[in-house]
């Protein structure tokens, strides 16, 4: 099959060896790549009873067949592992150029097992792979690490995916950063990398990537390019980045503010994409083969960096009661340099702010204290003072001080930038997410707030279960393909199926694509069940179920779980506890 590099590297860090094997055809057929590869390999290889930060955990890097083949927005790779933050089968997605380089270096996936005695990095180099000493890189930030490897390898074309000090210190929400600013952000994948003493993966090469039907692929590429350009989203994303969402979410009264105490931030305009474009934005930037370019290169005062994206803006901004865009951008840059998830870090700080204001903990931080917030970000990354406790995430922190209800998390992962009380279907999607609190495993904001592909009433629960299931399955398949999720605002399942068919020669239909997505979703679910998850975990913080919103159109509403959950389980072919039935497992080839 084409579209694949054809090989996978298995790095055994305990033994200090790397073995290269062909990418199995059955894996391609049933799981496509990316998240599919990662979750299948992970769930096959890792005993559900292990501790995520033990050497028995596995870290899988995997690109998809559409990664790096010149398809617009085909740039993504996934990192899969058992999450130390949530305990779920986790995958985190990143863009940039690294995924393409990994394939040009000759590899569809990298499977990392064991633990090295000393810090090492893995070099992927034109079909070869070797472990190298990384003692000189340990302690360095992600930018310093990337600079040092470019210098050491005397090659500016090398692309580096690495951890920063937060990953080394095993911060439970440490991320992995490639090209200095692109993040496989969520779930603590960086902590797992750190636990293995693996500092970085560097990829270089120029091996050919073949596609099955070049003429057909050219036609489909032109079609999807036209759809992306014509639906209008690209212009807003190009001009304002993902931060263009700040105002529309706020105007809908669903922008969580001060740790979800309210859902409207009066100063939202100050931290909006529109304000960024007029002030600190230097230029837009895209990932490999991107025609949208939603990335932001920002410069001001003595500060240079990329981002902040919508989620960190919300989390460091309204969720912490801060209206200063420059301070938000500084905090985001610290996260990139130290390798911290820029959702969980600020959301954990917001939790501390509420606890401190309510007197549940003695600490000087208060909502709106931007300088104090910056200090806390560094303390978390270095595990210094209270940062050592915050590095365990908001749920463990709040529980330690007797107030777990103030952690705005699901399955111990901090929730993203939308209040489910005013967006019922989104609430179901994030509560049932198989990786924990999340927005990109089924982005219901699109139909419920943005009106794409059609406008759904966000206050209504009827019919949402089917939408959530479809979005979750489709997203799983997109994450397997290597495409950017943002294409889903313009493209439908048939477009991805046509791209995959022309690229790989597999002749996949839209229905088969969704079936692959459903298979991945159920595999993650089954693994989570083995780790003790069940119906009780498919929920959201009590505040969101019991404390009605007070302002704007959604005033008086709570998130109504029980109106949707049973229907969702039934549609999925799961029993009342949320366990896939034997029939469903058999249908998906998982029994």
């Amino acid at each position: 099959m084409d579209g694949y590099a054809g090989k996978m590297a298995y790095a055994d860090l305990s033994a200090g060896t790397v073995t290269i094997k062909p990418t199995p055809p059955e894996l391609k057929k049933l799981y496509i790549g990316g998240r599919g590869f990662g979750i299948r390999l992970l769930t096959d290889m890792v005993d559900p009873k292990i501790e995520p930060l033990s050497e028995k955990n596995v870290l899988v890097y995997a690109a998809g067949p559409l990664t790096g083949t010149g398809i617009p927005l085909g740039s993504r790779y996934e990192v899969s592992t058992v999450s130390p933050l949530t305990g779920t089968a986790m995958s985190a997605n990143s863009g940039g150029v690294f995924g393409w380089k990994m394939k040009k270096a000759g590899f569809d996936a990298i499977v990392i097992t064991g633990k090295s005695k000393k810090p090492v990095y893995l070099l992927l180099d034109n079909g070869k792979a070797e472990l190298r000493d990384a003692a000189h890189l340990w302690g360095k930030t992600t930018g310093q690490t990337t600079d040092a490897l470019e210098e050491e390898l005397k090659d500016k074309s090398v692309r580096v995916s690495c951890i920063g000090p937060a990953g080394e210190k095993l911060v439970l929400f440490a991320c992995i950063i490639n090209e200095r600013t692109r993040a496989a952000g969520r779930g603590g994948v960086g902590a797992v990398m750190g636990s293995k003493n693996l500092k970085a993966i560097a990829a270089r090469g120029d091996l050919p990537l073949k596609v099955a039907d070049e003429a057909q692929l050219a036609l489909v590429k032109e079609r999807v390019k036209k759809k992306i350009e014509e639906n209008g989203i690209d212009k807003a994303l190009h001009n304002f980045g993902t931060a263009v969402l700040v105002n529309i979410i706020n105007e809908n009264y669903v922008l969580p503010t001060r740790n979800f105490q309210t859902a409207h931030f009066p100063d939202a305009e100050n931290v909006s994409g529109e304000t960024m474009a007029k002030t600190i934005l230097k230029r837009p930037k895209g990932c490999y083969a991107c025609i949208v370019q939603c990335g932001r290169v920002c410069e001001f005062d003595d500060e240079k960096g990329e981002g902040p994206e919508y989620e960190p803006i919300w989390a460091f901004g309204p969720d912490c009661g801060i209206n200063d865009l420059k301070m938000v951008a500084r905090a985001n840059n610290i996260c990139n340099e130290y390798g911290l998830d820029a959702i969980s870090a600020p959301a954990t700080i917001a939790c501390l702010m509420e606890m401190a204001e309510k007197g549940y903990i003695k600490h000087p931080i208060r909502f709106g204290d931007a300088k104090g917030m910056l200090k806390l970000v560094e303390q978390i990354a270095k595990r210094e003072e209270i940062g050592d406790e915050l590095a365990e995430g908001s749920f463990r922190f709040a529980t330690k001080y007797g107030h777990p209800e103030l952690s705005m998390s699901s399955k111990k992962q901090e929730l993203p930038a939308y209040d489910p009380r005013g967006i019922q279907g989104y609430g179901l999607a994030t509560a049932t997410s198989v990786r924990g609190g999340d927005h990109v495993y089924g982005y219901m904001i699109s139909p419920e707030i943005l009106g794409a592909p059609e406008k759904l009433d966000p206050f209504v629960t009827t019919g949402k279960a089917q939408w959530v299931k479809t979005f979750q399955d489709l997203t799983s398949a997109i994450d397997a393909s290597g495409m950017c999720l943002f294409t889903s605002f313009a493209l439908g399942p048939e477009d991805y199926a046509d791209l995959l068919s022309a690229t790989t020669g597999m002749k996949i239909t839209a229905a088969e694509l969704l079936k692959v997505g459903e298979r991945i979703w159920n595999l993650q679910k089954l693994y989570n069940i083995k780790r003790g998850f069940g119906r009780k975990d498919d929920t959201l913080p009590a505040r969101l179920l019991n404390e009605p919103l007070k302002e704007g159109a959604p005033a008086g509403q709570v998130w109504r779980r029980e109106e949707m959950l049973d229907e969702y389980y039934t549609l999925r072919g799961w029993d009342r506890e949320g366990t896939p039935t034997k029939e469903k497992q058999k249908e998906l080839g998982l029994a």
Partner: protein, 99 residues
């Protein structure tokens, strides 16, 4: 506030690329009984190019355009016939994405 016996005043906010053709925030006086439709009749007179960004046809919004009245999408109120009251806040959004 205006004389609510004959007229109402609404605040209109625009966002993202719509600010290329209209002000970010304005106050608009309209007759009693005004709707979203009559609001746009007024706005289209003031701002050249706005209608083309909002409407695909005389009674049809462009795909993914969102109009909120006091935080509620007019799609779930009365669409273009949504009634306006004095003091209402109308927010206009072009097609947006992100996450």
């Amino acid at each position: 506030m205006t004389d609510t016996r004959n007229h109402i005043s609404v605040t209109v906010k625009s966002f993202a690329t719509l600010r290329e053709v209209m002000d970010a925030q304005i106050s608009v006086d309209l007759p009693q009984g005004a709707t979203i439709r009559s609001l746009f009749a007024e706005l289209n007179g003031r701002y050249q190019g706005l209608g083309g960004l909002i409407f695909a046809g005389p009674d049809t919004l462009r795909d993914f355009v969102n109009i909120l009245k006091n935080g509620r999408n007019v799609e779930f109120l009365g669409r273009l016939d949504t009634h306006l009251d004095d003091g209402d806040l109308i927010a206009l959004f072009p097609p947006l994405a992100g996450g």
